[in-house]
């Protein structure tokens, strides 16, 4: 009797097993595998990422942009758009606006959140922005999707031209080491495999972070900062730096007064405005050369 009973209760677990198998989510699609051509030209677009919104404003008519995130700040006309939360994504509100295209930057959101958007039947395109070349590629992809290829092509051309002219101007100059801080307290910096690394390189400098650490945005300790001893530090005031880390009085950047605080939005948002970021870094580097 016991023998038979023992296997009957397993039957209760069968429905759970079946449900478990059904809940397997579709795999994450990279931007390249999505069928771009199969979309009709989207007219109602929502970007979960502020930097992509900046690109959209340059590419298309702003009426095609449905809404903004709480963190969007540029251009100022975007502030009049309705707000939809992106951390965490306000799924219900997104659905209520019925966008026909949603854009996001890779790495900014959980896979689960993105999958949920797709499960809700909303067309989602995720783009990777890890280098300058990525910006060119993504711009052109957006041109194709949004049916403004000629505009996108001219933007890419202009960007490439501006980048190259800055690069040319730095050819015969020495390249100082530059460290760009994300925050001072705690001490987070732009690492070797970060997007900003490219910008420093183009602007005529060398990223002081030469070691590849586990994260593109590592948190480093103060002795390491002193050890790195970059020629130029960007991202804080000299007074704040010394207040928090008095040992930096021994560093080149403090002794030569090459600590600059600039608005790091133009650095951290991969879009056409990076040229502003590059120009600013370039200016800082050149101020030293004169």
């Amino acid at each position: 009797m016991m023998e038979r009973g023992r296997f009957y209760y397993l039957a209760f677990f069968a429905p759970m097993l079946i449900l478990a198998c059904c809940s397997k989510l579709p795999e994450k699609e990279s931007s390249s595998s999505l069928h771009i051509d199969s979309l009709k030209t989207p007219q109602k677009i929502f970007s979960l990422t502020p930097s992509i919104n900046e690109i959209l404003y340059d590419l298309i008519d702003e009426d095609r942009i449905l809404a903004r995130t709480p963190y969007d700040s540029f251009p100022t006309s975007i502030l009049s758009k309705p707000v939809i939360n992106n951390f965490p994504p306000d799924f219900e509100k997104i659905v209520s606006y019925s966008p026909d295209l949603i854009l996001a930057k890779e790495g900014m959101f959980n896979k689960d959140d993105l999958d949920r958007i797709k499960l809700l039947g909303l067309p989602l395109i995720v783009q990777r922005y890890e280098s300058l070349v990525d910006i060119y590629t993504n711009l052109q992809d957006l041109g194709k999707i949004l049916d403004c290829q000629s505009k996108a092509d001219s933007m890419v051309k202009a960007l490439k031209y501006q980048v190259q002219s800055i690069q040319k101007s730095t050819i015969n100059h020495e390249k100082p080491t530059v460290l760009i801080l994300i925050s001072l307290e705690p001490l987070y910096v732009y690492g070797k495999n970060s997007f900003v690394n490219d910008l420093i390189d183009v602007a005529g400098g060398k990223n002081a972070m030469t070691e590849l650490l586990s994260s593109p945005y590592p948190m480093i300790n103060r002795e390491f900062l002193l050890k790195l001893d970059p020629d130029i530090i960007i991202g804080t005031d000299i007074s704040e730096l010394i207040k928090n880390f008095p040992e930096m009085n021994f560093s080149k950047s403090v002794k030569n007064k090459k600590v600059y605080n600039i608005n790091t939005d133009v650095l951290s948002r991969p879009g056409p405005r990076v040229i502003e970021g590059i120009a600013r870094i370039n200016k800082i580097i050149h101020a030293g050369n004169e």
Binding site: S183, P186, Y188, L213, E223, E247, F250
Partner: protein
């Protein structure tokens, strides 16, 4: 006497090894020069004297303070699970510090000392609140104290989370999260004296009170009969614990497990009523945290790893091992 010898040998060794590690490469000569031939214009000497030594001292003092606080609380509530967190002391300190970080109270300008003061006020405030709830017929009821502490701790955490949610911006959030995991990287000489004096003074008083603490663990009625002023002792323990925890949290942020584990470790090694338990607890706690800090500098050289992570990784296996030993006893 052999005990004193052991400590006299171990502590300098631990300190000396701790001085070796850091991002900037140093060797024995550098350390000798820094200690005995200090020149303020030499970077390496500056680093050793103004970064590494305060860091080791901060680790040692914080470890000692948290361990002592844990020992006292475990005697008070007669419960092996008690630690500086359980009475809400550490959560109160965290709340104070976060209020200061997030700028919730605008005129509470942020300076080196305001964080310490905010931590201390938070720690003491919540502990007193727990005591107030637990006050029962003229004395503190330990079981109620524990429960009140658990409840208040959860409340502090909830309020802190709410404040973070409402008041934080991207930058502040990082700061808050980083602080909450404990960090010795920001140690500086100006944070050391207050903590050192507190630990020293309270440590000595605790040593003098040690016999009474042992008797207290027999239970309040018996202790009362044996001449211990239970009410006064309980108050003293609470105030000491709040002071020690508040200071420690103000210097290094909340660091878990030391207050819980080190007292048990000491009891397992030296007996539940060991004569030198207080000093042993302080010194063991100090050495433990210093070793954790040195390990983190050794294993993860350039990153500022929050020390709370290392204390958990090193402390918990040890603790589990202790629990499985057959002679683990609390009472």
């Amino acid at each position: 006497m052999s005990r004193v010898l052991v400590w006299i040998l171990i502590i300098p060794v631990v300190f000396f090894i701790g001085l070796q590690f850091g991002s900037i490469h140093t060797n024995g000569t550098d350390i000798w020069k820094a200690l005995f031939n200090f020149s303020s214009s030499d970077t390496t000497s500056y680093v050793i004297v103004n970064l590494r030594i305060p860091r080791i001292l901060a680790a040692f003092l914080t470890g000692g303070a948290l361990a002592l606080s844990g020992y006292l609380l475990q005697s008070l509530v007669n419960n092996p699970l008690a630690d500086p967190y359980i009475l809400g002391t550490a959560s109160g300190a965290s709340l104070g510090v976060n209020i200061s970080f997030l700028g919730v109270i605008p005129w509470l300008a942020e300076s080196v000392f305001s964080t310490s003061i905010a931590a201390f006020v938070g720690a003491l405030g919540v502990t007193l609140l727990a005591v107030f709830v637990a006050y029962d017929k003229g004395s503190i009821n330990p079981s109620r104290l524990l429960l009140a502490g658990v409840a208040l701790s959860s409340l502090m955490v909830a309020i802190t989370s709410f404040l973070i949610f409402v008041f934080s911006s991207d930058n502040k959030l990082k700061k808050v999260i980083f602080w909450s995991m404990g960090s010795i990287d920001a140690a500086a000489w100006n944070k050391i004296p207050l903590l050192a004096i507190t630990l020293f003074v309270l440590g000595i008083i605790a040593v003098l009170l040690r016999p009474q603490l042992s008797i207290l663990m027999l239970g309040a009625p018996r202790a009362q009969n044996l001449g211990v002023n239970v009410v006064k002792l309980r108050w003293l323990i609470l105030i000491f614990s709040a002071l020690l925890t508040g200071m420690a949290v103000a210097v290094s942020g909340p660091i878990g497990f030391i207050g819980l584990i080190v007292p048990h470790f000491v009891r397992a090694l030296f007996g539940v009523h060991g004569k030198y338990n207080i000093t042993d607890t302080i010194l063991t706690g100090g050495i433990f945290l210093t070793v954790c800090d040195t390990s983190s500098k050794w294993l993860f050289p350039d990153i500022a790893l929050p020390i709370g992570i290392i204390t958990s990784f090193l402390g918990i296996p040890f603790f589990v091992y202790l629990l499985t030993k057959r002679n683990f006893r609390f009472n």
